[in-house]
Symmetry: D2
């Protein structure tokens, strides 16, 4: 625990809020998220379906939209307050990456759109609609957002998002300097090349990761991750993916970086999706020092020695040239 | 491990095969077993629905029958062979407890009916119909009986049956001497009164238990138990029972006797039902000595000190005088 | 989720840092914490032993001190920065509860001592000594504080502290108004009496709880809690307590309040100690509304229906009148 | 479930009893088995140490012997009775594979030694010494063999043995025809070559496996396996192997064959060792049909798609030519 990055969490961003995922196979993707993963539909509107895990407190955390290609349309963070939102919008504009305000979407209020330095579309907002349970989703215990569905993998809540970027440093600087995130871990090779960066805006050890796009493309998605409560539930999710013919890319296994217990699959639209358990791991120290993994350390593979599957370094979405569509 | 009972397992009985459970609330009971417990319907016939867990290899292990009262109609063991079946039928007849042959039922062939010394109706058979998976239940791995459903508690297989008896010794003698079971554990109070007996016919540490009916009635049911793979799954079953308003009588906790990790609930018809995990516990020793628990030891409560809920000693089914029906 | 308490987390306090526990049986208590619970000794000094869980990043989180009585000497929170520390000290002094600065202790720098309105001794500090692993405790993965010991219950990190108070409202107001904590849940009976309050200073759903002392005493301890990674580990901790003759007061079971999966035992000195798993439960919403449990809801017992053991309401430490010592 | 092998379990063999493992690094191997795996020493004698898991009922299940090479000296099955022992000795002698009687060893009585058709040394015996717990190992619950140690991986009991053989068919025929085992699963390639066979002598789905030695050698060991109670414990065993620098060959993952949840490591002497959980999986059906896996099915890798590590097919012990020693 050596490499000190100036600045810690600003607390201006509260948490990763939602991801809009594109799929060329909307029916199959919806079946995957509801029946295999156990998510619940909050609303349907136009080409989009709004979904959430049973303990996601907002209206939705996944917006699934039918499209010609796969990939991510945008992602969103919820700000900690109206003031925090305004403060960060000012900084994003000063950085020259702003797109502008829009009126909001199903479930949340006005949002400010911007691009990451690598071209991913993102937004910040504060006003939100808390999920209101109905007769079929009301929980027995009122301190949880909705009923545990007892369906498929029973995903609990959105956990983090992993972007691909053609170059890491500009994205890293943007998340730390402009958005006020903590750089909790990173991979830096012997020649100084940054291969990955993990950011935290709260006490979770990360909410967002950026890893190098070996194809050199800009603005792509590596994966979206939802959390379950235990490693046993990740294993059971793998059993269910096997039963349903879902493509398992790698895992279950334990990452060395962040120690996440992971299962990576491809949802029917081709986007990589992760079911993970982070257990009791939190960053509570206010003076956390960035953990920097070296090239030699990364060559050891994952925590228990599994070598990373090649597709993990090459598959991103959208995964086809636009001219093919 | 002290009290030696002459004779070990005969291997003539293969395993507990099924239980026919009666319910005055057939729709609610069926919803409980399918949606909350995750069992699957094999067939419906007349007033009965035939159900199984995802790794039960036979056509059914639970026959749920609409009736004026709750309780158990009969239970069945599968014999290890036609010869073993005939041998035990001869011994039952010699004991004067035989009822006679019937043609079988959905899913199995000719069965010999008899009574336990306490009046429970039971049967033995050998010929059975292996469950044939269809497109919706075919497992990904062909060494399991059907697909893990990803629904509710995902019950795996029938585990054991617990009868109530007005007096234990005649029932104990019958299972050991006439049916060739091993008495793996028992409770004997200081005055010599037997309070409970646990029997094994294979390497499971028990398939059948008989405990004292404090109401002094004959032939009643205490509970039926299905197994899941882990303690974590028993806990999740409790979460789901809570969500669905199922009455949880006691648990999850660990029994001292047999060390079963248990959850006891009442299905909507009023019958006690257990979800349990026995983990890797097996009796492999061919010369196992019956474990005898004393009155003092039983006063300590369950393994981690939970005192037994009073209803656990008083509730049995049918739970109303026949004249009330 | 209804009762709105003005003010959210101030982020001035980072986390619960340590507890100094008193024990009249120091050798037996030390054996319990190291051999049964799996904690590791950082240092011994005078009558005190400094201990930590394998992922506690500070020098110690438990200071175990030989004394004539049991109970808690003091507890400490780490501030988020020097400025945050100074800000809260000023507010505590304005509230008239300050005691003053002391030079610090093994493992941390200058600390400001104060009393809660109910008389518990507490302190705040910022400067700390990160735990430095040696050859026998160096972890294989450098993003964890030290090696998983593979001993006893393998406690991971300090989780929360539960105080007893003669009256809840003054303590609640102090933690919210003076220390800037979020009141995440509380129990309020029909006549308006507050029975318990749970406070969060970060994204954990609570770091501190205060419940009513039925004996009407001031300044006592209810329990200290350490976290493990899974419910399965809590169950295994119960198995180990059973093997070692540790008194299990109640559990494992699941609280309705905060949904903590708990095991309560008495360490040999008589202090209540909890092993718990909170899984993926976090409060990420910046506008969380306090969950208020009513008298009727509390009568239902714990999450799965377990009625609270009477001693849970009556046992606190120190547990004997001072004149007896 | 198609390929019917005439004959089922004879019940003459009760269970796999012990394995004598050779190690050129006796101190390091002993440290691995006691401190990392959590086994307990029953006795030391000459160059051998006798070890057991906490619920192994016999004096020992692993005899660890210092030697110039690694590998297995012999393995043993316990017979179900003196008659069963005599019956199988007669059949082995008729098969021409007998070696003869010896007086027994620490912990068991007279044993009959023989060779498998591939040259592995084996023995059968009936008389045994049940493990007698002392003050430090006496369990709290008297229906378990000894105290859960709370040390390392807490291995519960010996589970199975996997031999390598230059040719499978003779070994398969010997175990089925001469020893009366059930062939529960096997791998048969498209050209009819048998690649592996799994045998059960009780209700466990296997006690012994034989897989092809790609090096074409005779009589070698692939691995020995001990069982824990849950998949979570296998994962924790992997965490501990990582902490202790134990070489993890592959896993944790789930086999398609037998569905075992596995972790394979090399103990310091170079022998492959497995920690596994089989959950509630048992073969209770008396008419089980051998599950035959095809070449195509095996190409899919393990259950969740992990491709088998090359060393899994090439590493066996002893792993060096005898002339090298």
């Amino acid at each position: 625990m050596s490499h000190n990055i100036p600045g810690g969490r600003s607390h201006d961003l509260a948490h990763l809020a939602h991801v809009e995922m594109l799929t060329p196979k909307p029916e199959a993707s919806l079946h995957f998220f509801t029946e295999v993963m156990g998510m619940t539909v909050s609303e349907q509107s136009g080409d989009s379906v709004f979904l959430r895990g049973w303990d996601d407190y907002e209206h939705h955390t996944l917006k699934l939209t039918a499209a010609k290609t796969n990939g991510m349309h945008h992602f969103a963070f919820r700000a900690a307050s109206e003031h925090a939102l305004q403060r960060r919008v000012t900084m994003i504009e000063a950085r020259g990456l702003g797109v502008g305000w829009h009126d909001g979407d199903e479930g949340h209020g006005p949002a400010y759109r911007f691009h990451t330095p690598d071209g991913h579309l993102a937004e910040l907002y504060y006003q939100t609609r808390w999920y209101q349970a109905d007769e079929t989703t009301r929980p027995a215990l009122k301190n949880q957002a909705s009923r545990i569905p007892g369906r498929g993998a029973n995903l609990r809540r959105i956990d983090h998002l992993n972007l691909l970027a053609s170059r890491i440093p500009p994205v890293r600087e943007f998340f730390v300097d402009t958005l006020g995130a903590l750089l909790s871990e990173q991979i830096v090779f012997d020649d100084g090349t940054e291969k990955g960066a993990w950011f935290s805006v709260n006490n979770k050890s990360y909410d967002l990761a950026v890893t190098e796009d070996h194809a050199g493309k800009r603005g792509r998605l590596h994966h979206v991750t939802y959390a379950v409560d235990s490693r046993e539930e990740v294993l059971r999710a793998a059993d269910l993916c096997l039963e349903h013919g879902v493509h398992i890319e790698t895992g279950p296994h334990k990452h060395a970086v962040q120690q996440t217990f992971f299962l990576y699959v491809y949802e029917p639209g081709g986007n990589r999706f992760e079911v993970a358990n982070a257990g009791a791991r939190l960053i509570l120290a206010p003076d956390w020092q960035t953990v920097v993994w070296t090239e030699t350390e990364r060559r050891k593979g994952q925590a228990w020695g599994l070598q990373t599957t090649p597709s993990f370094h090459t598959h991103g979405t959208p995964d086809r040239p636009e001219e093919d569509l």
